[in-house]
């Protein structure tokens, strides 16, 4: 899984986003190669979700650019981004609770670029997430959290996107369910799709991803590869450095020496 060898499919270039006068993402740059899995980890409020929302054009940029396959998304609205091949599995699932499972999947297909193959895509999804097929005509709001997460992923991949953005897919799920979700993600990765995964459960994400960006205060604090998942010290440094900074409210982070306390439990799992 050589990063340099493949072409970049998604490029985030000096992107800044602010909510009112509060900066959420500051001059962030990162590149994702086709077929790659990139994770973005970081503490609460680091700007992870904002990055994904910005790529989807769901929040306005204050500066910078995002390119998909070399083409700028600056002038695109979020539905156009979706129809150009980026799909989002939003934080908290955000499935349409009043609509049936099947209707949710139909909405997922709105962004499909090819007119053919819809049935096959649906079958593939059923195969991967049997639970979705079982409850096809049930209102999605009646599914359990894990089932809803599977539906949300299924809804995203029926569009057969080039890039799949996942926002905290493990949030609020039981460990066994998380295993299911990651197994599904592994299958998706096998199918050659590019994945950008935002996770607060850093260890698992880092291990899963080809490369990981650690985000804090809206800037990239560190870059890691899968092997670093076991390097607890480095993780802690990245996390706690950001945390102390956030608490102290200091200026732009320059990657100074992190204050490492003696955490009661694994900081990464929290």
């Amino acid at each position: 899984m050589s990063v340099q060898a493949t072409r970049p499919i998604l490029e985030i270039d000096c992107l800044s986003v602010r909510y009112g006068s509060v900066p959420a993402v500051r001059e962030l740059s990162l590149t994702v190669a086709a077929g790659e899995v990139v994770a973005i980890v970081g503490p609460n409020g680091a700007g992870k979700t904002t990055v994904l929302s910005a790529v989807m054009r769901m929040v306005a940029w204050s500066a910078g650019d995002v390119r998909l396959d070399g083409e700028s998304l600056r002038k695109r609205s979020s539905d156009e981004v979706a129809r150009r091949g980026i799909a989002l599995v939003p934080e908290g699932r955000q499935i349409f609770a009043d609509l049936t499972v099947h209707e949710n999947l139909r909405l997922g297909m709105v962004a499909r670029r090819s007119r053919t193959g819809a049935a096959e895509a649906l079958d593939a999804v059923f195969e991967q997430f049997p639970i979705v097929k079982t409850f096809l005509d049930r209102p999605a709001g009646l599914l359990s959290g894990g089932q809803q997460q599977q539906l949300a992923i299924a809804r995203a991949i029926v569009a057969e996107p080039d890039v799949l953005l996942l926002d905290e897919p493990s949030l609020g799920l039981a460990p066994t369910v998380i295993d299911t979700v990651f197994a599904a993600l592994a299958a998706i990765r096998e199918s050659g799709r590019t994945i950008v995964l935002v996770e607060q459960r850093a260890q698992r994400a880092i291990a899963f991803a080809d490369r990981t960006y650690v985000l804090a205060d809206g800037v990239v604090r560190d870059r890691l590869v899968a092997a670093d998942a076991t390097d607890a010290e480095r993780l802690r440094a990245a996390y706690f450095g950001a945390d102390t900074r956030a608490v102290a409210g200091a200026g732009t982070p320059t990657g100074g020496t992190p204050k490492v306390g003696t955490p009661a439990d694994d900081p990464v799992r929290r």
């Binding site: 539905d79 979706a82 139909r106 709105v110």
Partner: protein, 293 residues
């Protein structure tokens, strides 16, 4: 027997308001916009009927439909689309400004003096069953109202655009992130609202043959009250709310003692307040759902 006649009168009026309410409710459901200018769609259609006096009736109705849809789309494109992200209050005031503009234009063009529409006046004929008198118009209103409500429901349930409308109504941001084109959905909603407004107009016209600049305003305001009372979130509850307000208006008039009829508005609005206090999210709404506005 007397009361059955009251009931028939009330159903007749309720059905008319239901159609107006469905149009208002649909636009609200999809766009979260309280469209105070919905009544001016009826007005625009009314003046079209006046201007086309003498043409074949079907042609007149189709012309009115075209004009109403055109006005609805212009309204959306020029005044509301740029405010897609604005607060509900801002869009509400914008629709009021649109309503005011259209009424002012009508006043300048046709003056405040009413103009007769002369459409389907035969529908005012009634047949009797025993002592009961039923207008063909009542039958038409109930049938057309029912058919259109059914058609809209089917449209929302079965078609892709309908599904996208429901998704947009439920969460616009997520729907768009899935690739739903907001403009398609909104244009669709306004076209349907135009169709519903025209249908309502055609049914109001035989009974209220004189169109004035204020023609639609009074109707729309009462229908809007009905929509809120019924529950705004679903087209079905909005429609029932519209029916309720028309029905209650008619029924209260009949039931009030003669000398007290002038207090009809008080009785009606008093009822509205009671309903809102008892069921804040709507009379025909499941209690768990709360208005997002």
């Amino acid at each position: 027997m007397k009361y059955v006649q009251y009931l028939i009168d009330a159903i007749a009026l309720g059905s008319l308001y239901a159609l107006v309410a469905l149009g208002i409710g649909l636009v609200f459901g999809v766009m979260r916009i309280v469209n105070l200018a919905h009544g001016e769609l009826l007005m625009a259609g009314g003046y079209t009927l006046y201007e086309t006096n003498g043409w074949p009736a079907v042609l007149r109705v189709l012309t009115a439909l075209a004009v109403v849809i055109a006005v609805a789309l212009l309204m959306e494109r020029l005044a509301l689309r740029p405010l897609r992200r604005a607060s509900p209050t801002t869009t509400l005031v914008m629709t009021f400004a649109v309503s005011f503009l259209l009424r002012s234009i009508a006043q300048k063009r046709w003056s405040a003096q009413g103009k007769t529409m002369n459409l389907f006046t035969d529908l005012n004929q009634a047949f009797t069953i025993g002592e009961l008198r039923i207008k063909y118009l009542t039958i038409a209103a109930v049938v057309v109202g029912g058919v259109l409500l059914g058609a809209v429901t089917l449209f929302l349930d079965r078609t892709d655009l309908g599904l996208q409308m429901r998704a947009t109504a439920s969460d616009e941001r997520i729907a768009q992130a899935l690739g739903v084109r907001a403009n398609h959905v909104v244009v669709g909603a306004f076209v349907i609202a135009g169709v519903l407004a025209t249908a309502a107009l055609v049914l109001f016209a035989p009974q209220r043959p004189v169109v004035t600049p204020d023609f639609g305003l009074q109707i729309a305001i009462l229908a809007l009250v009905g929509v809120v009372v019924g529950g705004m979130d679903k087209p079905s509850s909005a429609t029932l709310g519209g029916f309720f307000i028309g029905f209650a208006n008619s029924m209260l008039f009949s039931l009030l003692p003669k000398g007290q009829r002038v207090f009809l508005d008080s009785a009606l609005y008093g009822l509205v307040i009671v309903v809102l206090l008892v069921r804040p999210s709507g009379l025909f709404q499941r209690e768990t759902v709360t208005s997002r506005l």
